[in-house]
Symmetry: C2
DNA sequence: CTGAAAGCGCTTACAG
DNA sequence: CTGAAAGCGCTTACAG
């Protein structure tokens, strides 16, 4: 079971090892008949070029590090699937790092040792420090679904791909105002996640335009159990309940739906309207039929590839892409107000 | 932004490059003060050993290929998360390949070029041929949540980790019989998936023991939309409907639940009982409250690591591990029969 | 304990 | 078009 190398093939085909290498290098010049001979020999021996050795000499691993943290939110599996497939088609591969919370530093060391050509950080909760470390190490980074925290002096700036979160938040705010809601509550994700802050800002834009205050505010940390707790607190006082709840993502919106119905005995949208963000697969299930804002994963993945390859190609300026998102109206917002 | 190598560190610390290498090789002998000097120099230069170069010489990449296909079934994200974290702790990393259906051959070539130390195939739908190719190439493979198809002559045998699917299926069959169901239907996953076949066999064991026939049978292909279609067909005739439906996994069971309620106006478990397999996070959500069989992901991941490392260490015999699974009784099976 | 040297399996100028 | 040679950044016997 010895590994077969280019040398073995060269010997069998009676050519130099260089010729074998050229045969497997797209665009290199080899005479047609030589190539033929080499390919036959390679097939006979079951030869496959060693990507590790190639990486060492070309100083390109064609590996992209993908850092994620919470796959229970179904948005991320969808992202993984699309991103992996897209990168595979470009001849790149994905080294996956799962890092809950902030043990991320060890992860970083690992990533760097593996000489990845670039990194996609697709997690709203990872620290910006991590991203900066990578950039300092000279590795292209693209933030996916989040934006860099700006440092004290204007700070580092990292490429990022997001939806137009503020506009999306505004869309929801306008919908809720238009349909006559007056006591609108916000369920934040992580307080320091840009997605959550931007969506909240959009909501507040719409409220301000209508002269309405934000009725109440909870923090669900993008987590199912945390969201449940926050909803319980938000609806504790039966005399002062919100008439609408906008959650920073679908995962929490569904947690809210479950809690409102099963634990608080409320009906949606009769007693309260609920809106999410992402349009995960479950949002379309009849049990939830959740009104939400759709993030265009396909466009986001495309933009990520583009940004990544620009930087790998030497582009130094970081840039950000905002993909438009659209409101998906389903059944969790009451249609007209009785007020 | 030049890469700093062991040579650079050696020069600064005034030692040989070998000494630098030893300092970063656990268990190598270096004098404490030499090590100190080298570590200081390394820190100053921001040196990190190049894992690619190390792999080339040690012929160990410390990379495991993980092949998956359908992440919309929430069981798999959970598996990815656990497996990644476990392997990271062992100093291994995960190169992720997503391959829908059978374009898998290209994927295979990729995997092999990357000199992965082993492969975990965690997908019920991938062909067994793929696994055999890897084994022929001398790469350890562990099948996760499926079992090798035995060839015509007894065929190849590949290590695998599964739940005790047949026993799990029997548990469900016994539960349904015990609670007085008489027209029990089976919703299969993919016809050639061992998980589906084994769970069905277990169900049939229980039915046979009770002298009951399998009332009806549909095929959902482990897919949400397919499962919906199959359920519609299974319940088309109002006069001959099943009184219980056992789906080969939770993903399809939830599809069934949604279809029964939203499209057929049936109540669960009043009109029909529903049972799944996996115990995905959503099964516990109040909207579904799904009775199911829990696969012990933690044990399955542990077994996978063990099997993988045995083979990487030179163990040639393939072996299979069956992890016990337990029935999780929730609200989708009616408690007593009125018959 | 330490250094010089060989070598992992490739790519890529450089001559011819 | 083709081959000999250098070299990517490491590890690891082998002497000392």
């Amino acid at each position: 079971m010895k590994k077969v190398t280019a040398h073995d093939v060269a010997r069998l085909a009676e050519v130099s090892q260089s010729a074998v290498s050229r045969t497997f290098t797209p665009g290199a010049s080899v005479a047609p008949e030589t190539r033929e001979r080499i390919e036959t020999a390679a097939r006979k021996l079951g030869y496959r070029p060693n990507a590790i050795a190639r990486s060492l000499i070309t100083r390109r691993s064609r590996i992209i590090g993908l850092v994620m943290s919470y796959l229970e939110n179904q948005f991320y599996p969808v992202v993984i699937e699309r991103l992996c497939q897209a990168l595979q088609q470009d001849g790149y591969h994905v080294l996956l790092f799962i890092s809950e919370t902030e043990e991320a530093d060890n992860v970083l060391a690992d990533i760097l040792q593996y000489q990845v050509d670039g990194i996609v950080m697709a997690s709203t909760t990872l620290s910006s420090a991590l991203a900066n470390d990578c950039i300092n190490a000279g590795i292209p980074v693209v933030l996916f679904n989040r934006v860099a925290q700006v440092g004290p002096m204007g700070g580092y700036s990292t490429s990022s791909v997001t939806s137009q979160n503020r506009a999306g938040g505004r869309l929801v705010g306008e919908l809720l105002v238009r349909t006559g809601h007056r006591r609108i509550a916000w369920l934040a994700g992580s307080e320091n996640a840009s997605t959550s802050r931007d969506r909240e800002a959009g909501l507040c834009d719409a409220l301000a335009a209508a002269g309405l205050p934000l009725h109440a505010r909870g923090v669900g940390d993008y987590d199912f159990a945390e969201a449940r707790r926050a909803v319980l607190a938000l609806f504790r006082d039966p005399d002062n309940r919100p008439d609408a709840l906008f959650a920073a993502n679908d995962h929490m919106a569904i947690a809210a739906l479950e809690t409102l119905r099963a634990e608080l005995g409320m009906q949606v949208p009769r007693d309260v309207s609920v809106v999410g963000f992402d349009n995960v697969p479950q949002a379309a299930w009849p049990s939830f039929d959740l009104t939400t804002v759709q993030q265009n994963v396909e466009q986001m993945v495309d933009a990520t590839r583009t940004l990544l390859f620009e930087q790998i190609g030497g582009q130094v300026m970081a840039s950000s892409v905002d993909v438009p998102c659209v409101l998906v109206e389903r059944g969790t917002v009451r249609k007209r107000d009785a007020t």
